[in-house]
Amino acid sequence: MSNIPETGRTSRVTIRLIAIQILVFSLILTLGGRLWFLQIRNGDEYQEEAAGNHVQQVVQPAPRGTLYDARGVPLADTETRLVVSASRTELMKMRDDGEAVLGRVAEVLGMTGEEVAHKVRLCNNETPQPCWNGSPYQPIPITDEATTQQALTIRERGEDFPGITAEPAAVRRYPAPYKANTAQVLGYLSPVTDEEVQKAKDTDSPLLRSDQVGRSGLERSYDTQLRGDAGVLRYEVDKLGRVLGMADSDEPVAGSSVVTSIDSRVQAVAEYQLNQAMETARKETDSITGRPYEADSGAVVVMESKTGRIVAMASQPDYDPNAWVGGIDAEQYAELTGENSNYPLLNRAIQGQAAPGSIFKVVSSMGAVNAGYPFDDTYSCSSSYSLGSHSFANFESTGHGPITLGKALEVSCNTVFYRLGHTEWRKDGGSKVKPGEADEHLYKAAKDFGLSKKTGIDLPNEVTGRIPDRQWKQDYWEANKDSWCKQAKAAKKTGDEQKDYVAKLARENCETGMQLRAGDSIIYAIGQGDILVTPIQMATGYAAISNGGTLYDPTVGKAIISPDGREVETIEPTAHGKLPASKKTVSQIDQALQDVATRGTASWRFTTWPHDEIPIHAKTGTAQVYGKQTTSWLATYTDDYTIVMTISQAGTGSGASGPAVRNLYDAIYGVEEDGSIDRKKALLPKPEKDLPRISPTGTVQAERTDPKLVKFWREAEFS
């Protein structure tokens, strides 16, 4: 026992006190070390987390750019509407979660309380539409159709409507100038989906949850330019979402405007005339089926021959693009996308594909010349062409004797091309030759003409059509042989193999479907069989014949104009190829097509046409489709314009499409019924070269025509 004199305490206690002291200081050191670890070593990480914690973003949408026609008339613009919105964060602060306020809003707007409550509730897995799918910090629109009176009521009695705003907001509008709704070309907008937001996150144009994005047409292909950059107001908020102050915010930047080459007047005429042609066809009886023509769908393309610019593009059936504005309900959506309405959203000018029939003969002619058949040699136009026991007839089984290829185009002689197709097939090695080992001149010409691939038009979802050459046959067989062979096997078991045409076909396809048969090549030469083309492909090719051989990318967009009107980026015409024919051949075909219009198959539609002043060229086509009525095709051009029209199940090319195309040309050039030209009445005698004028304040100046004149041409019924 060793007492420390001063304190009179044992060493045990002293030692323990020292131990306590050491323990105490190690605790403090531990805290210091941990503090250093959190604040100095990992500080950055936590700073980021803290920043993400307390900032909430409210999006201010950028005004979307306008789509103009070639003369500055708006095709799609934004309209200011009175929008009544509710701030969810404000409502949630109230004792009854804003129920009373929403009830008063419903009363003012003449809606039911339930309707309003549904609009402002947040979407989740259990909540059915309607519900709000955007950020809860974003004002939620209750209506975008408030009247001035309703808006004033809400604003004047602000104390009764806390958290409710009634303010003008921009809403997309499709004004349809001259009644040209241009629906499928313009496209439509709809709210962005979660996946799209995720996908666009790290790109140059990130999407916000409040964004509307273009879903089709120009709205989609020029979406990034039109959309602009939304502004973001960043609020500092507390744990409960209450706003404490503002953080750095970005102002919205308006979207650019797009001037298109569409002339809304010509567009209006094209739409009306297409519709008229279809309605007329439905009143006529098809002599083959004995039923009235279905005329279920159709398309027309008016293109500048020397640039590829689209002046008008119509597709039937169509729809009102304004149906999409302000959200579309389920019923409307079903109507727009359903089978019963025959898919009005499809732009059949670029998405409709059919066998081209005789308008394909210009391609066969080019192929034939390339294969060594001189254009001006004579070829037998017999009344029919036989392959084994099968006889391929000429149209109405008339023969014309030995004629040139030009004459064959003029009178649309099938047998000349049957023979060419068959001879070439044999020369290539018949059905035994493997894909890639034959010249396939007729098929190659079609591909070089631009068929079986996209033209590159600045509209989304263009389809390619197809050219049924040996390679395609092989590929198609590989893809389908299993189901064909299964079908054939099943038919064999039941014993209706011999009776049933379909079963027979299945067996044939199963066994030899990879072979290009003689019959395939014979009907291919006149644009029938498995071949599929789109109106825009044919328009591009015929425009090339008109301009001497250059295949231009079809374009609808002509220039992009910055929001302030200062920067104008012109979209120049670009060529993607040449016709598979020499200059000479092109001019020979050009002459032949003029003859078609003056004395050939299309001439009866152009008897009063001023051929000397405005030379017109045409080719008719009437394509047979298994189990359906014939497809009407009419491909025409002048020096400046190319017009291709097609109507499904409507009869002959000149018969069904002739009057409409003729009326279009009349309107464009101002040709009266008697063939005289009234320049004053002409809508667009020369393609619009210039862009619309832009005022010093940056607004695009519209050059408008008297609507009566457009109405006159729209409803003209000559010929």
Partner: protein
């Protein structure tokens, strides 16, 4: 003056007040001034932090952003007055008052379970004395235990009968401490009390077996509590969140996670007072009391946080010194008990904000807002000063 420690200065001819106060051996000279100054500094820092944490919380302040600042200052003033009172009475005289104080403390804890009691944040630990006046009796338990155990354990040793407390005395002392601890339902306070009892036993010179026995019992108790589900669910959840804060970031782990974000985002110098987004945004709960250190961490940074740690270190160093230099076992035990109390409570409080200790509702001495805690820690300062004053002058 009736304080016996004044005796030495009362000799000689009458002197001026100043010279009397500053005279060698006077009360003023014998007070441990760092031990006065450091708690005052901690209270001052605490006042700023409490102010920052509450000025936006209108639901607490009733619209006066400075309300908690004022209250904290007033609490500090009352605390200092209590400390002076304790010095005045002297810790030696508290020996005889111990039975009264002990009984009073037991009654107060008991009252918590009557309709007078109130539950705040899941802990039934409060007494509603009058509207707006609530006290937390468990805060005063700690002083009572230290005092009571010191009285019992030191009696025979200080009388010179024994070198160390005998087993019987230890049992008595443990029983005396166990009774109020058993009544207190507050997990955090129980933890502090256990550590205090351990510190007191160590300082008393009780046999090693008692010390180890207590440690083993404590550990076994913790395991038993865990296994047999004696804890309420919220208490278990707090521990689970401590073990893995990512477990449920929006629920249980949310608070600890937000606390860590607040401190971590402070960096070296902090965001500046009133500028912390975590604090302004009220992302951390109970920020003026249990999580006060997060305000310091975020707004004053590593520098501010270290300053608080440094002040606490100085405070504990002074307290340790007083314990070592105390002249009798009674005083030694009191000082050591207070060291154990302050050290563990500070470690637990800051440790849970830093995410190295489980969440338990304990205030940071002098810094956290709260009257009961403030009064209790100043009473402890008074006792430390009293021990120091009684010490013979060193040559």
């Amino acid at each position: 003056m009736s304080v016996h420690s004044f005796d030495t200065s009362a000799v000689g001819p009458p002197k001026s007040l100043w010279s009397r106060v500053t005279a060698r051996g006077s009360l003023a000279r014998r007070l441990d001034w760092p031990l006065m100054l450091v708690p005052l500094l901690l209270c001052a820092v605490g006042a700023l932090l409490v102010w920052s944490a509450t000025r936006n919380r209108t639901e607490l302040t009733g619209g006066d952003p400075q309300q908690f600042l004022y209250k904290h200052v007033v609490n500090t003033a009352i605390g200092v007055a209590l400390a002076i009172g304790v010095v005045w009475i002297g810790h030696q005289r508290l020996r005889s008052l111990m039975p009264v104080l002990y009984t009073l403390a037991l009654v107060l804890i008991g009252l918590v379970y009557t309709p007078l009691g109130a539950t705040i944040n899941g802990e039934r630990a409060w007494l509603n004395l009058a509207p707006g006046l609530q006290i937390q009796p468990s805060e005063f338990i700690k002083v009572t235990i230290i005092l009571g155990m010191a009285v019992l354990l030191s009696a025979k040793v200080d009388a010179g009968d024994r070198e160390h407390p005998d087993h019987r005395t230890v049992v008595q002392a443990l029983a005396l401490a166990a009774l109020p601890v058993a009544v207190v339902g507050d997990l955090g306070q129980v933890m502090v009390c256990v550590v205090i009892i351990l510190g007191v036993l160590l300082a008393s010179g009780a046999a090693n077996r008692w010390v180890f026995g207590l440690i083993v019992t404590g550990a076994a108790g913790a395991v038993a509590v865990w296994l047999f589900g004696l804890l309420d669910e919220y208490q278990l959840n707090r521990f689970a969140a401590f073990a893995n804060p990512a477990l449920d970031p929006s629920g249980v782990g949310y608070n600890t996670n937000q606390a860590r974000i607040a401190i971590g985002s402070g960096g070296l110098f902090g965001t500046g007072l009133f500028e912390g987004s975590q604090t302004t945004g009220q992302f951390v709960p109970e920020q003026q009391t249990d999580f006060i250190f997060t305000v310091a961490g975020e707004e004053l940074g590593f520098v501010g946080g270290s300053l608080i740690l440094l002040l606490l270190a100085v405070l504990l160093w002074r307290a340790c010194r007083i314990a070592r230099e105390a002249t009798d076992l009674y005083s030694t035990i009191i000082a050591a008990g207070i060291v154990a109390w302050f050290a563990f409570q500070s470690f637990e409080n800051i440790g849970m904000s830093l995410g190295i200790m489980p969440v338990a509702g304990l205030p940071l001495p002098f810094v956290s807002y709260g009257g009961s805690s403030m009064f209790a820690v100043w009473i402890a300062i008074g006792m430390l000063q009293s021990v120091r004053i009684q010490r013979p002058l060193s040559a």
